[in-house]
């Protein structure tokens, strides 16, 4: 039994190795030294203090956006358009962050984050409401809401929320009382993200609400039979998924950007999907994947500068890792019985 467990744990490790091996061939084919590239990757991403800081800071955001997607997946909802919720959360956070003066940090920051989460929840919850009451599929509504939110956010940043002294479109700087302090240089966002992961993990493991959402995700008819309000669960699932996404946008602003420009946030929502899938929609299991990806991302520039390889190698490596970690090839090779990953079955209409 012990032996089997260690074999299952080997799967991700072997997947990473396999991805790196294929990556090495591609790098060598372009006339560079794979060894040098990987050295830079490890040194810059995981060894130096600055690198580790950047890694964990990125990992924190990845964990949070992964949690947003995970929360939906567990309730059978595919929040493919979390990006719109991230954006609205980020802008709402920023507005409170620069507009409300005179609050101490321990009130201002949590309050602004709460408002960010609230706005994310509004957007996500609206999609959930449309699904529960009108049967509008969340994949459509969230993708459409993405574009709508992009336009709304763009309008606000260009007008009411704009820093007038700058010719370019951006908001004023977020006040220090709404910025996330680093504790001894350690990215606080990462700690918050891990705590959030534990909370979400607990919800699905131990709480009745989590069980209700899970049941709705697995068999809607049985959930209804068992006295679970399917509609309420759908709204709740999207609401919380959106809240986490909005919170992620706020945290990113608080820790990293310092003011709001829509482009800062591109890709956060979609990254969350990759992370959630890599972690098999398990809130705790997404953490190592996020750290790994965070590390690769933070070493990306150094790889180009110091090793001369296109930084896009990182996205390629990521895809390969996801492929090997999920395809049964590796698992078969090392004779693991690790169950294949499932997220939702189908569109879970």
């Amino acid at each position: 039994m012990k032996f089997k467990i260690s074999r299952d744990a080997l799967v991700p490790v072997a997947s990473v190795l396999a991805a790196l091996a294929i990556g090495a061939i591609l790098i060598a084919a372009q006339g560079h030294s794979p060894l040098e590239v990987y050295k830079v990757l490890i040194v810059k991403g995981f060894q130096s203090t600055a690198g580790l800081q950047a890694t964990l800071s990125k990992a924190g955001i990845l964990i949070m956006s992964g949690l947003a997607i995970t929360f939906g997946l567990r309730a059978g909802l595919f929040n493919i358009g979390a990006q719109g919720q991230v954006l609205s959360g980020a802008l709402a956070f920023t507005y409170i962050g620069y507009r409300v003066h005179g609050l101490p940090i321990w009130i201002h920051l949590p309050f602004a984050l709460l408002v960010g989460a609230l706005f994310g929840a509004l957007v996500g919850g609206f999609a959930g409401y449309l699904k529960a009451t009108r049967g509008v599929h969340e994949v459509i509504s969230t993708i459409m809401l993405n574009s709508i939110m992009a336009a709304v956010v763009d309008y606000l940043t260009q007008n009411q929320f704009r820093l007038k002294s700058q010719p370019n479109t951006r908001t004023p700087d977020i006040l220090h009382s709404a910025r996330l302090p680093h504790i001894f240089g350690f990215p606080t966002g990462f700690i918050v993200a891990v705590i959030l992961a534990v909370v979400v993990g607990w919800i699905f493991r131990k709480s009745t609400v989590g069980f209700e959402l899970d049941t709705v995700g697995k068999n809607r008819n049985a959930a209804w039979y068992a006295g679970i309000s399917v509609k309420k669960s759908i709204v709740l699932g999207m609401l919380i998924s959106g809240a986490i996404a909005g919170f992620t946008g706020g945290m990113f602003s608080a820790e990293t950007t310092g003011y709001f420009v829509p482009a800062f946030y591109s890709g956060i929502g979609f990254d969350g999907i990759t992370i959630a899938l890599l972690g098999r929609a398990n809130p705790i299991a997404i953490i190592p994947g996020a750290i790994f990806i965070g590390g690769m991302r933070s070493a990306q520039s150094a790889i180009q500068f110091q090793a001369g390889v296109s930084p896009d190698i990182i996205n390629l490596l990521l895809a390969l890792v996801l492929f090997f970690a999920t395809a049964p090839l590796i698992a078969k090779m090392i004779k693991s019985n690790a169950k294949s990953i499932t997220t939702t079955s189908g569109w879970g209409s």
């Binding site: 709480s207 609400v209 069980f211 697995k218 068999n219 049985a222 959930a223 039979y225 006295g227």
Partner: protein, 502 residues
Amino acid sequence: MEALLRIENLSKSFPGVKANDDISIDVNKGEIVALLGENGAGKSTLVKSVFGLVKPDSGTITIKGEVIEPGDTAAAIRHGIGMVHQHFQLVPVMSVVENIILGDEPHKGAFVTKKAAREEVIALSKRYSLDVDPDAIVEDLPVGIQQRIEILKALRKDIDLLILDEPSAVLTPHEIDELLEVIRKLAASGVGILFITHKLHEVMAVADRVVVLRNGKLVGTTSPKETDEEGLAQMMVGRNVVLSVEKGPARVKEVALEIRELSVKDDRRLDAVTHFSLEVHAGEILGIAGVEGNGQRELVEAICGMRHRENGSVRVSGKDSPDMDPRGVHLMGVSHIPEDREKDGLVSSYSIADNLTLNQFNLKPFADKGVRNFAARDEYADRLVKEFDIRTPSFQNSASSLSGGNKQKVVVARELTQNAHVIVASQPTRGVDVGSIEFIHKQLISARDGGAAVLLVSAELDEILSLSDRIAVMFGGKIVAIIDGQGADRQYIGRLMAGLSE
């Protein structure tokens, strides 16, 4: 003479179970062989191997002297095997015609010739006197009709061997008689028949030979001439089974379930139940007899709060029960054994333990202030698995690993251990073996004797007759008669069910 079908030394294992263990069976031309066994004995696995749906681990299957490639359905069909499946293999959103022709469509080039297909289906249904509307969409049809489509599908090709895996589980007595007639006719025309059922009187009525499986092994062969129903049951279960239900007189108390002027619509928003009124007393079993599709499902769902009540009220122990609130109704003391366990009654990827507490997970002792208590759940599950003899290595296993009968036991165990005032049992023994039927019936009676009001809905007229203290016959969404259970006349009820006036 060479046997038509020859199964030799067939074995098949699934993780943790040996479903078939070195089984050898012959079926001759024109012979009707009944395959008996408890739930999980391995009957379905065996016939699925013959039809190529399961690839056996070892053994050979020969038909008319030719070996069939294992695990190849198309080959089985080519060799003239037809099969009616235990679980319907129909495409719900397609028409009857489309379902029947699937796989071998009348065609011109790449195109399906709709007209020819339709004519073929009409002719087929005439030939076997199995009436179906060729253009109806399958999901709109009652299960009985769906079963007919399954049978027509299997009969469509000129087959040498017909496999029937519990074809009668959802049929009315009349339909069963028709089915048995079809089977006899086919056998007379030389088709070999392999017939799985849990209804022993059917076996006695048509089988030439009976083969019994237990725990994956062949335990004996007999024939209706050599034995009786009791004997068959004993062979299957390995012990004495009491087939007739023993129950004392009902000690009827106050009204526990009161339905007044209830109207309900079906999924297509058509009237399914209209102005329906009924009272069920504590301490009695009221059986609703009726051909499936006469509003029973909608009635049950409306009573249990799962379907909107257009009109009327449902009172439990004198209090109004809420509309569209299954939890609210449950909390008033209503238990519900749903007719479709796979769809409504279970979450198949959940553990047996979670399924045993599926509608109580939020109640004490299984949860407190929104936090679940796994120790309490497991203790409870352990007890129920033993008490209800649910065949599984562990209550941690997923419900999907259970055989049909054992899945049903999970649902029944969950619903009958909650000390409910009202028990709504919809098709509680569908697809369940005789041993388990006996067990479930005993449980229902003891619930009645414990003071619960039991509303029993069953397409199984025998079940209704043997359990009910009163019988309500339902037709077209209404009650057409209420009869005393004692000495009720089978023929008379049958006529009422068919909508014939007295």
